[in-house]
């Protein structure tokens, strides 16, 4: 199949926007995401900067990437444990681009794609997302849907390889505590985004249990400038596979999972902890995991010290790096290193401008006040008819 992003009809673009918009609206309401705030970062400011970077730069980058590697091939390459990019990076394409587009509707009174060039840009983002996502998810859909709300991305071979690593669950408290320290590091590194935390499954195993996989990735990030100059952790990912019995799961488009019961520790029959190194899954023992957690705790203390010293504008401007870090893995998995420079240059210039613009606003942008605050139905407008 051609990698060119020109195969979707307007009806397919519309249908994709609607499906995504309904799912994002439901999740935003359930999780009360619009209320997220932080003492350390300017959440709304950085989100605005991210929206602008995506809207102005991402279509051309995806178009250039897709000319070399089809979105379907990108999606297929993502179908393994510990992979980055993962579901959230595809989420970010739609969410950020479409929110910036709605902001333009609120301010200008018309959707950007009444300009044919903008219509092609919208199509590039929506089509890349949909084609990659369908190849990525086992059910060929775009979002976790009722009644199961599953998020299965591994094929039978990978499920089998993860299941082979499952063992006794008697070290679970030790594992959970070490994982918590590593998660904390990832939340700080990703500037209060959930990026790097990924739940997927459930996968039915032969013994009747269902396997839930929790991953923490991007641990060896070498792109974000506030990460330690000597690099992050020694591994890129930590994956924990739980064989569960009598636990209900509901996955969301934010790449997380709500379980019933919320604390499922007593219902874990077997567990595996491993890291992905290329095509290999390497088991991590409790000692190695705790050593990683100890390093994460030290690094995050140092990182915190660097971040609190930022000038006020950097608390939103840092998004130029943070949001580029979502696109970067597509370029790496698509083996397009030359596009990394384009990504960084474009996000740097747009991010600087957007942060300065945000600092001048006397009130929050309309998209935060009316659109993201109380979404009802689909969050995003259907594509404008271009005559």
């Amino acid at each position: 199949m051609s990698g060119a992003l020109d195969t979707f009809s307007p009806a397919e673009v519309d249908a994709t926007i609607t499906t995504w918009g309904v799912a994002q609206s439901e999740t935003m309401r359930r999780e009360n995401r619009g209320q997220l705030d932080s003492e350390l970062f300017d959440i709304r400011g950085r989100t605005w900067v991210g929206f602008e970077c995506y809207f102005r730069a991402v279509p051309e980058i995806l178009t250039a990437l897709a000319e070399r590697v089809s979105p379907e091939e990108i999606g297929r390459r993502m179908k393994r444990p510990g992979c980055r990019p993962y579901y959230l990076q595809l989420f970010m394409l739609m969410s950020n681009y479409l929110c910036a587009r709605e902001q333009r509707l609120l301010v200008d009174g018309v959707l950007p794609e009444t300009d044919p060039a903008e219509a092609r840009r919208l199509q590039a983002v929506v089509e890349f997302f949909a084609r990659a996502m369908r190849a990525y998810r086992e059910d060929g859909g775009l979002v976790p849907v009722a009644p199961q709300y599953d998020q299965r991305i591994l094929g039978a071979e990978w499920v089998g390889r993860c299941a082979e690593l499952l063992g006794p669950a008697d070290e679970l408290p030790r594992i959970s505590r070490a994982l918590a320290s590593i998660s904390l590091y990832v939340f700080l590194m990703h500037g209060e985004q959930r990026d790097g935390n990924f739940d997927h499954g459930p996968y039915r195993l032969e013994d009747g249990t269902r396997m839930l996989v929790h991953e923490v990735n991007d641990l060896d990030n070498d792109y974000l400038p506030w990460v330690d100059a000597d690099g992050g952790l020694e591994v890129g990912s930590v994956c924990v596979a739980y064989a569960l019995r009598d636990v209900d799961t509901r996955f969301s488009i934010f790449a997380g999972c709500i379980t019933d019961p919320a604390d499922f520790a007593a219902r874990v029959e077997r567990v595996a902890v491993f890291t992905a190194e290329g095509e290999e899954l390497r088991p991590l023992g409790a000692e190695e995991l705790e050593a990683l957690a100890e390093r994460a705790l030290r690094l995050q203390g140092e990182m915190y010290g660097r971040i609190v010293e930022w000038p006020p504008i950097e608390r939103s401007r840092y998004a130029r790096w943070l949001y580029a870090n979502h696109i970067l893995p597509f370029l790496r998995i698509g083996e397009a290193p030359d596009l990394v420079e384009l990504l960084s240059e474009r996000f740097e210039a747009i991010g600087q401008e957007a942060a300065e613009e945000f600092a001048t606003f006397s009130e929050r942008p309309a998209v935060f006040r009316s659109h993201l605050a109380l979404p009802d139905g689909s969050m995003f407008s259907p594509a404008a008819v271009v005559g």
């Binding site: 009360n32 350390l40 959440i43 904390l184 939340f187 969301s252 997380g256």
Partner: protein
């Protein structure tokens, strides 16, 4: 717990199960967190406004529990508290001005209530 309603400070949603007793310690600003970093917070039950987790990163692994005025079950603070096995109550609604409880011993109960400890100073 019998009689605990007389000592009620707040009620909220249990985001991470468990009980804890400790000193209610505000961590509302970066400045407060920086100060707490150099102190012994082993007895602290953190009191925060927002359910973001990054603000309290340096001290979270060392405290006894967390009470948050905002947030929900899927808030970042809730996720990490569950992993740490740290009792955490979110969307806490205070029936006593929380400033009056600052520095006093409190208990997080299993049902999401926060009460003054029976012999709390």
């Amino acid at each position: 717990m019998e009689g605990s309603n007389d000592r009620l400070l707040a009620t909220g949603t249990v985001a991470s199960q468990g009980t804890a007793e400790g000193v209610l310690t505000p961590a509302m600003s970066v400045a407060e967190v920086l100060k707490l970093m150099s102190e012994d917070v082993g007895e602290a039950i953190l009191w925060v406004e927002h359910a973001s987790v990054t603000s309290v990163v340096p001290i979270l692994p060392r405290v006894r529990g967390v009470v948050c005025e905002g947030g929900g079950l899927t808030s970042h603070l809730a996720i990490v508290s569950r992993q740490f096995g740290l009792p955490c109550v979110v969307a806490a609604d205070f029936s006593v001005p929380p400033e009056e409880a600052k520095g006093r011993r409190v208990e997080i109960l299993e049902d999401g209530r926060i009460v003054f400890a029976e012999n709390g100073a």
